[in-house]
Amino acid sequence: MSERVGVAKTYKLVLNGAFVRSESGRVYEVLDHAGRFWANVAEASRKDVRDAVVAARAAQARWWSLSAYNRAQVIFRLAEMAEARRDELAEHVQRAEGRDAPAARECVARGIDRIVWYAGWADKLAQVLGGANAVAGPFFNFSLPTPSGVVAVICAQDSSFEAFVDAALAPLCAGNAVVALASEARPTPGLLLGEMSVTSDLPGGVLNVLSGRVGSVGASLASHEDVDGIDLDGAGDRAGELSVLAAGSIKRVRQPGTDFAANSTARLRSFVETATVWHTVGR
């Protein structure tokens, strides 16, 4: 039998619940840890950023209008999807990060467990981050955590899957819509998770995954006035410059290097606004 010709996949952007090529038509080559060709991925342009933000803005209202319990179910469904494609994810992590096979499998398992963890938090955030406040008067006073809105995430450059899960799922869990820029050199595990999100009941546009250059895509995201928050996790030495751009529209900015202890709620608090409600005490 003759040798099969390889069928290489070109990874597309995950935008508004669909897989699209970049508006620019550009792609770039992704190499594995050993410097061999691994995949072609779309290189997002600033117009892709614009489209992703428009989609996220529309989707955020739908996402937040679901019950918290329902959001939890949807996120859990994402874990189910990832579980079914563990081997594929592990292969990508292995090739991208250069781990050995058992380590890559373990890494994917931890990531999927994190998705389940976030699913659990979706309907418990309000109880933990919110509360009933004592006030001097005949009023009930409640603090309620509400989502910031559209959150951009510059994902970590080194950890291609685990860190992606944390960066994307934490704001999602709090009711935000997310535009995530996957690791520039290792984008495929993040793009795969984006693909899975499309088949996991997540309304289209709630999680958009872009691949591209931190310099250009990051700048478009940071300066975009309709983005409410940005996580600079993987921005590296561009964090300062992106923070300045983000300041133009007074965004919430999460700086890189903010390490959280595992199972801390700190990350969940990053893109939450507290709404305070007063209500008269009646009989």
Binding site: V49, R50, V53, S223, H224, E225, D226, L245, G248, S249
Partner: protein
Amino acid sequence: MDARAGVRLLDPPRAPVIASEAQLRALLASLSGVDAAGAEARAAKLATRSIKTSSKRAALDMIISMIDLTTLEGADTPERVASLCDKARRPDARDASVPSVAAVCVYADLVGTARARLAGSTVAVAAVATAFPSGRASRRVKLLDVEDAVAAGADEIDMVIDRGAFLSGRLGEVFEEIVAVKEACQHAHLKVILETGELVTYDNVRRASWLAMLAGADFIKTSTGKVGVSATLPVALVLLEAVRDFAESTGRLVGVKVAGGIRSAKDAMRYLVVVNETAGSLWLSPTLFRFGASSLLNDVLMQRLRQVRGAYVRPQEFSAD
């Protein structure tokens, strides 16, 4: 510019006088059919033109100056119309370099409010009349509707044709009605809405365009915006070919208004390309080309501000109406 796109005008103008329905029928029958696949392909091709930097800036301002800022809701109030008028006069409160829109388009009963609020500006008041949007009323009621709007100070009247009569072949009736409405308009400009979404074929669109122009329309307009299918690029192309051919054979210049479903600056720019390539640059003016729209204005303002600031802006920068 495309050599075919310039119009050669007759001097002096000589529009044919339509004396009988048979003559009208013969004239419309003599029009060639529209190559539907060709029109769609040409429109799609023109839609791929890209307009950048200073041309884009100029196009955005041109679009603003061509907008008939429209509110045609049962829930319209004088206050809402007043605030729309203020926006029409000065679309971006922070930037005086943004041009005014061409007109404000309202129902006839709100013409007075708009007229008073727009006093001293260049913005015209347009009123929809003749039992808009269905056109289902007696001739007497339609004419009263028009007279009312004109008396209240409307500069432009948007009438609807009787699509039922047109589709069942009673062309004389449609023609006479337009002539009667034109007379009732007095000094006001008459825009004739063909409601192309209900005319089924491009051939019908071409015939209806000619019928309206022969009857004295100052503008032909695609749609009311109240039915499922509104303005499309190929339909605009057919209308623009009609005004171009009409201008060449009679010397009279008729405008085109596209309405319904045009929400983004990008869409609007595609129409401008089709205008320039079909009828010619003479039509790139608010006196001969208009957009009937409401949400389009905010998108154009957003694109304009993006060019100024260099970053994408949020929709909340501009009031809803």
